[in-house]
Symmetry: C2
Subunit: 599 residues, 2 copies
């Protein structure tokens, strides 16, 4: 069995053929780039990930971090891996060239990071958190903070975290209790406990920079009174050298089902009254700053889920082509040779399904990354504003849909491998365990569903929905020109209409009965997500159809596979959206009315 | 958080109120029994399981069996657990009273075994395999074999296995290569390799009795040439004492994602030409005998999946009632107290869904167990034949539906617990890992789907389907008398009609194009399974409605919960069957036509 961890051909297809990232080289910021430099970045990512990340994917799971001298010790390969990532420039993939960065578009940066997530999601976490942490400080920190923190972060000397959750405040940030008290010199004393902090302690970097949500004494209650602080594990002297410990104690390590190579920590800040932090931006605006990082992280979660599912799919395909078992149904002669299991229709059903889920999810995630570029580098204020509106709407879907359906791809891969898939001798069970986290962290999928239906779909008087609807209608119209896509285009428009009708009903009920209106937010996200993914499939299929006439060799199969997976999604998956959306449209009260004592 | 592992109230409801097992006391075999003796058996099972099985559920996962002197060493609690099970009489739960058994109906025996599976599925496996092994020998072994093997098995001196799978013959038993050669004295020399043999080696019993599928020299090829042999790990002397080792070598232990307390082994029989076996029954009839055990084991798999899912549900309910987090959507005051998460509609959605899946699955599995009693102790030859026909039809559904949907309940429980659910500090992640095996072993769910659509639904000219349809129609008619069930009854009949239409289409295509006809066997099983489970929900709801008027205290909530979960299943789940069945009815060719090179 081969051990492919990423489908590079599909990444190239999505980037160059569906999203046309090459067009971005016309924008001033990316003028120095070309298709070749984009390709080179991707090639480097695959090479480094293969050599330095994929190599310890299993080992980092088996040898979970253990405390040594009060500090978690990771497998040594992880240190080599992150060093190689830094060395290859991926911490600064999207940073300015003059700051030593690659100045790549977000779409490319995300695609490169995704390659590392496919190879070893636990090792990648330390790095993507660090990048997100640095970008938040670039956006909201003072020039002095940028000098002191951003440069060490982006050069890999320091690593970053986001410290939001507290034991009594998981999904409810209004209940954050960590406090910050002015010391009189512009710095703050921070005190409180944070939990489930990923990468909260480790031995991979000189220092760890925690971005901590806390309340300043006398702050308004709730989310309007939360401020953001930089709290390093070790203090940093004026000259940038490491100083005294900063009274940040590791209170415990969680032992997880998967994703074991990334430490998940409980941290105690200021137990001895000596934890010093710096305020980021203005007081009480911490949550708004943090959402910058969280929205970016949510796209990262969707992409990680996608890549774990996509890798599962690759393993399943390779296994199914090699494993002989059984015969055609009509074969009567038990002495005839066995056939590879991929020849059985039900195995192909599993593989088409996991292909449709994971490549559809990849299309969705990279579409969102493409909107990040449009938001920042769009040619007009209108196009930038449109990108922001679309991103706002799509972010909860990008986070939640892959973390539900790409996990299913990991489960399907176990099923294809059968008994072997259930053993730790094969990689798919780890992918399944690792992937299960994605529906939980960075806001559970239930929270995403409420965000989508209660906020994003309703925002700007439904303007974001209308903008997305226009794009979908435009692509559907283009697709209708092809006989083979006519039915798909009609189904897509019909399902989109249904989603709009459901959102309207919810919008009408929201002012008077928000509990009832939003009770079925999850089926809305599932149905809406299916419609959006169907749209990305139609776009992929159209790109495949364009490319087919001049395709040769394995590319013909590649494009035919796209057309087949698109057919599968439209025939087998999209119809499910109607049932989900009908529950929303009728404001079905079944769950709302169930009493806790009945459960 | 409490640590309930089984919902005893629900077992009692299903047994006494839905299935009326008390009526079985009118049958001659169960004349000595009463509601009280049935209840006592259940109470004992819960007490023993709580004390001796639940206590090491986590430990048996963490301390996976390791080889010590060539033999797997299990945690010591497991030996105490199986001893307590034997001591309490559960190996002989359905055996004749004159042989020291409890002479319980199968429905009760299965319910008691299910209690142990809920507490510790890995420990239970050793025992349920032993019972199934002994019952096969009771049915097909010679009187001498019964004396030599059955008594030691049912007294817990020896434990049993079923040894079918070989490395090159997983789902394809036609390819079994293990051979058996006559020794001239009525015994046989057995030689070959078996893999994925659960409980294939351990230190829990004096001896292990393998039931091995092998080919006698010159046997016809394929499944028609497979015979069944008793192959003990250690030879047994005439007086029943343990003799020499029997050349059965442990070639390897598999390391699994879950279910770790049960050894999964590769066994080498006769590497030194000294592995002696006894033929069971007649030559070449081995597979037919083994199906006796496998059908029984398949009901066991469905029940195990159900109990793991049901336990997950209990943990999630208890956690959701205790964990404060967030506020009602309309609450504006962040200083108001947080509410338990069960107050959020989306959490109730997850709990209703897991309740609907697991209690629906329990209804299905116990319905099948009840048919086992009818098959053996039915009052007329007609009722016994009808039970056989229905059991044949339902067995693949009983195996596959819970092992798909009750696993989903384990996943939902992780989601309800959030970050905690993903840690090994809470039990739900283990339940999720353990439960994932059930879709694989005892015939993958894909195999079950082919069995259901290609064989069982078509058998006897569709007679089994007609018999089931009559029962469903009868219950739907009864339900229609109640205003609140009228819509459910109509939906059930409509969905049943759809399933029948799909089966007809397949039946018509089967002779000419079996590959196409059966390509969508899995959506058929999913859709058909949903219809059958909807039926068991309607039966549960009717029993609840009968009981409500005289119910007091917590029973009122219990019955209202049944009505709510039934509503949920009919509104949220049953409609999904139409889409699945429409793919079958149209003989959708999407998967069949996908080429392996496209995947």
């Amino acid at each position: 069995m081969t051990n492919r961890f990423v489908n590079k051909r599909d990444l190239e297809f999505q980037l160059f053929e569906v999203l046309d990232v090459e067009a971005l080289t016309a924008r001033p910021r990316f003028r120095e780039h070309s298709r070749e430099t984009f390709q080179a970045a991707l090639d480097t990512a695959v090479a480094v990930a293969a050599a330095k990340f994929a190599n310890h994917y299993r080992k980092a799971d088996e040898e979970e971090p253990v405390l040594e001298g009060g500090r978690p010790r990771l497998v040594p390969e992880m240190k080599e891996g992150v060093a190689a990532f830094v060395e290859a420039g991926f911490l600064k993939a999207s940073s300015d060239a003059e700051a030593g960065g690659m100045q790549l578009p977000s779409t490319l940066t995300r695609a490169c990071h995704a390659v590392f997530e496919a190879a070893n999601v636990a090792a990648s976490s330390y790095l993507t958190l660090t990048v997100a942490n640095a970008h938040l400080l670039e956006a909201h920190g003072s020039p002095e903070q940028q000098r002191r923190w951003v440069e060490p972060l982006l050069s890999g000397r320091f690593f970053g975290t986001m410290a939001l959750t507290e034991p009594q405040a998981g999904s409810s940030l209004a209940d954050v209790r960590t406090t910050a008290t002015p010391r009189g010199d512009g710095t703050w004393l921070v005190s409180g406990t944070k939990t489930f902090i990923s990468a909260g302690d480790h031995d991979l970097a000189e220092n760890i920079v925690h971005l901590v949500l806390a309340r300043i004494d006398g702050a308004p209650p709730g989310v309007k009174g939360i401020s953001l602080f930089i709290v390093p594990k070790l203090r940093v002297n004026e000259d940038g050298s490491i100083g005294e410990p900063n009274d940040v104690a590791l209170a415990g390590l969680f032992h997880k089902m998967g994703w074991r190579g990334t430490t998940s920590t409980q941290l105690a800040f200021g137990e001895n009254g000596a934890c010093v932090g710096e305020l980021v931006g203005e007081p009480h605006r911490g949550l708004a700053y943090m959402f910058h990082m969280m929205n970016s992280a949510r796209i990262g979660v969707g992409l990680a889920a996608t890549m774990l599912g996509a890798r599962s799919h690759l393993h399943a395909v390779d296994y199914a082509k090699e494993r002989p078992q059984g015969r055609p149904l009509a074969a009567k002669d038990p002495l005839s040779p066995q056939i590879p299991i991929v020849e059985h229709a039900d195995v192909r059903r599993m593989l088409l399904q996991s292909k449709a889920y994971t490549e559809g999810a990849l299309g969705l995630c990279l579409q969102a990354a493409r909107l990040l570029d449009e938001e920042e580098q769009g040619e007009t204020p209108e196009s930038r504003a449109e990108a922001t509106a679309l991103l706002d709407l799509l972010t909860p879907v990008v986070k939640a849909w892959p973390s539900q359906y790409a996990v299913e791809a990991s489960s399907l891969a176990i099923q294809v491998l059968g008994g072997y898939g259930y053993t730790r001798e094969y990689p798919v069970e780890q992918l399944y365990r690792d992937n299960r986290l994605n529906a939980i962290h960075e806001g559970t999928n239930g929270i995403q569903a409420l965000d989508l239906l209660g906020r994003k779909a309703m925002a700007r008087g439904g303007e974001s929905l209308r903008l997305l609807g226009k794009r979908i209608a435009r692509d559907a119209e283009e697709a209708s020109a092809h006989e083979r896509f006519r039915e798909h285009a009609a189904s897509l428009l019909e399902a989109w209409k249904r989603a709009g009708a459901a959102a309207m009903k919810v919008g009408a009920a929201l002012p008077t009965d928000p509990e009832r209106a939003l009770a079925n937010a999850t089926p809305f996200l599932e149905g809406f997500g299916h419609v959006v993914v169907a749209w990305t499939w139609l776009r992929q299929a159209m790109a495949a159809l364009r490319a087919l006439p001049s395709a040769r060799g394995p590319d013909v199969d590649f494009y035919e596979g796209k057309l087949a997976a698109c057919r599968f999604f439209f025939r087998w998956e999209l119809p499910k959206a109607h049932h989900s959306l009908s529950l929303v449209e009728t404001l079905d009260p079944t769950c709302l009315e169930a009493k806790p004592s009945w459960l």
